[in-house]
């Protein structure tokens, strides 16, 4: 049994040939039509009005149903085990990796999957100016941590501006000699952290260049903190930067330009609408909430029209969740941009599919229903932007990972199993042993 499971895991990539028929297909990039999608070897093989099902293919009749690409959440913190999502002890924690702590058994994965999410960028927290390395995952529920990881696409890192990274510089309560304050305490200091860190990284880059180029014979020490910063400057690592206010975003773009790189996205980007013009020139994307505001000082000017303004002014925008609960309904979050600011259906759907894929430079693999892309698909019972839309089936790499009917039938079995174990556990517990200090 255990062995069989092991094999199953190893064979995860071999998906059944599947055809989804009679659905309203929202390709996102190539229009919407009523037709079929053929899946082979985990990829979208064919998209069309009429496709003949290959012999032996699994047929999914989606009459009256709606088919979209799997939703992509560009900002999530689910499924990270132990010790939190922040290495907040230092202002530059570029050496830490979310990848190390992906927890494939977190139920948040299943819940998000049931909301149509197939890919999520699990970000380091926002406690410091230069945070840790993020990790893109696919919601392959039931698989191991290693199998959750998204294969391909550039690595990325989290930056953070404003209230959060400066918070550690402010003591709660009276300052005693024992109070440890972490620089910085202001937005001025946040900028300084970047300029100091990248100046250091430039020097590091040079020592290696000198060594490799032969002008120095002393091999430098590898520094896991500075390596990612060099990667950023070399354009090999994307920066997703937590930011709220327009002024701080402008600062960040200018610092990046000073050191010869670009910010990939501003996350939250509440005041993106104020600085959309500058963002468009820099080429940074805006990835944020649909309608959050007023939970702290730096978001008092948050408006639900933000996505629409950015989109209209040439900024590639995306809607994300940053929240395990909200993550389960990104479709209606996207729909809010139609209400506030009048985006079209296609624009709204793009905010949670192809646009975040572009932000993460994985749009050649996911984000739309196109031949050759991963078969990450969601079957909805209603229009995907409707408040009443419920995902019925969710495919990742052509494998069925969520099925609403199956979920219902599995509940009973799970409950029975649990009842039995609960009964067993009612028998008198063994005496707890003394805990040795270790």
């Amino acid at each position: 049994m255990r062995f069989a499971l092991y094999l199953l895991t190893a064979m995860a990539t071999f998906a059944e040939t599947t055809i989804v028929q009679n659905a309203t297909v929202y390709t996102i990039t190539k229009g919407t039509f009523k037709g079929s999608v053929l899946i082979e070897d985990g990829k979208i093989k064919q998209v069309g009005l009429n496709i003949t099902a290959p012999a032996g293919a699994r047929i999914v009749d989606a009459s009256g149903m709606h088919l979209t690409p799997g939703l992509i959440d560009a900002h999530s913190h689910i499924a990270v085990q132990a010790g939190g999502i922040n290495e907040g002890s230092v202002s530059v924690s570029s050496m830490v990796r979310i990848e190390d702590f992906v927890d494939p058994e977190s139920v948040a994965i299943y819940r998000a999957l049931a909301g149509g999410v197939t890919t999520a960028n699990i970000l380091h927290g926002s406690a410091n100016a230069i945070g840790g390395q993020n990790r893109l995952i696919k919601m392959r529920w039931g698989k191991s941590g290693a199998e959750m990881l998204f294969a391909g696409g550039p690595p990325s890192i989290k930056f953070a501006l404003g209230e959060n990274p400066k918070r550690s510089g402010n003591a709660n309560g009276p300052v005693t000699p024992a109070t440890v304050l972490r620089y910085p305490a202001t937005r001025m200091g946040v900028e300084d952290v970047y300029r100091q860190a990248f100046t250091e990284a430039q020097a590091y880059q040079k020592t290696w260049a000198d060594f490799k180029g032969g002008s120095s014979t002393v091999e430098p020490r590898r520094d896991l903190r500075l390596e990612p910063l060099v990667e950023i400057m070399e354009g090999k690592r994307l920066v997703h930067c937590h930011a709220y206010r327009g002024d701080e975003m402008l600062m960040m773009m200018r610092v990046a330009e000073e050191f010869g790189f670009r910010i990939a996205t501003f996350q939250h980007v509440q005041e993106g609408y104020k600085i959309a013009k500058e963002m468009a020139v820099h080429g940074v994307g805006g990835s944020g909430f649909s309608d959050w505001w007023a939970y702290k000082m730096e978001v008092v000017d948050g408006i639900p029209y933000n996505m629409a303004v950015m989109t209209n002014k040439g900024v590639l925008a995306a809607v994300n969740s940053d929240d395990a609960g909200l993550m389960r309904r990104l479709n209606t979050e996207a729909a809010k941009t139609m209400k506030y600011g009048g985006l079209t259906e296609e624009q709204a759907l793009a905010l949670v599919t192809i646009n975040p894929a572009r932000h993460m430079k994985v749009d050649d693999m996911i984000g739309s229903i196109e031949v050759g892309k991963s078969a990450d698909l969601v079957v909805w019972n209603k229009h995907p932007l409707s408040s009443y839309a419920v995902p019925q089936k969710v495919f990742i790499d052509g494998n069925l990972y969520f099925d609403r009917d199956q979920d219902g039938s599995e509940r009973v079995a799970k409950e029975t199993k649990k009842k039995a174990l609960e009964e067993k556990s009612k028998t008198p517990a063994r005496k707890p042993s003394t805990n040795e200090d270790r």
Binding site: S89, V96, S144, V180, R225, P432
Partner: protein, 442 residues
Amino acid sequence: MIKSLAFLCLPLLAVAQKQTTVAIRNAKIVTISGPVLYKGTVILKDGLIEAVGENVRIPAGAWIIEGDGLTVYPGLIDGLSTVGIIPPPVITPTTTAPATPPARGPEDRPRTTSWERAADKVRANDPRIDSARNAGFTSVVTFPTAGIFAGQGAVVNMAGDNPSKMIVESPAGQYMTLAGAGGQGAARGFPSSGMGVYAYVRQIFIDLDYYEKTKAAYQANPAGKQRPAYDRALEGLKESGRLLLPAGSKVEMERVIRLASELNMPFVLYGAQEGYRTSEQLKQGKVSVLVSAKWPAKIPNGDPDAEESLRTLEVRENAPSTPAALAKDGVKFAFYSDGQTPVEFIKGVRLAVERGLSHDDAVKALSLSTAEIFGIANRLGSVEKGKIANLVISKGDLLAEKSTIQYVFIDGIHFVPSPDAAPATVAPPGATGRRPRTGDQK
């Protein structure tokens, strides 16, 4: 019954009895390394096993123990313990300035005492030594346990009035913890998170490699070169030879194995209670594990209405079947006490036996396997000629509930088992720790 016996034995409690030559004859001998001898003889001489077999000549003048109805086992080993190391007195935190500022990165070598050696810390007067021995434990692998790189362990025999004579092997590996210090802010320093710990571990191994290289280059030709700074953290790490890494759940085991495979040093996992889910992977990766025999239990005085997750219930139900699963799949594993008293420890092992592990495999996981994991199987862990004379002799299967331990030999010295009275945990010196008794010559 037991009480009255204990009373009678009182003057002889834990008395070490030195005898140059001992012969145990006509006993069942569970050698662990070879077949069981149903009517065999073991000769102990000068602290070593001189002979084991069915036709062994007993030397003249030997103290003869009639082994009818007795079973001889190798002395048990606790694979991971702190016995012998008396914790320093607790220092109450003060509100004044911290003595050292919090660590700001891997360069500050946070929570690292990799150079510290259990062998230097072991004291013969730890009262837990008596209780370990009474339960049949003739050795423990003991470690400093505070910090990310806590320090180097030692294999320690549970007898002697002099630590230097008790040490069997040092170092026995580096004890590591991987949890962050916690806290969002800067007060507790780097690394606050598990991610930070991982980053630190990676960096220190890179540093170790770099240190070795620079040192070698300098030593080869020091003239005209900058002298590399001495780094005791790296020196200590290098000496350890083996890492002990914590991993209890399947997810943790997978994660820690991924990390460990990046590091250029052998490793052993400890914890491993979800081994019933990972035995196949452990086997494939040739990973050895120390299994905690402190099985997950319902928290005492818990909320009767609080719902426990299916996962929690499953782990509690299945964890004790981990040893059986590991044995079946041929994963090298040994037990450790995980802070339990020896009596609780044996109870935990017994549950693993109830859940499918054979009795003798359980003894093996308390003797030879432990010795193999720590690379001392040429000295300890089985009843074999030439090995250290650590034996435990019982009436009935050693781990069975009703068995009684009749004799304990450590380094060939006989100890009369005594009823256990020592506390599970050790109080700092000057508190309630009782003075140990020294052995009397017979």
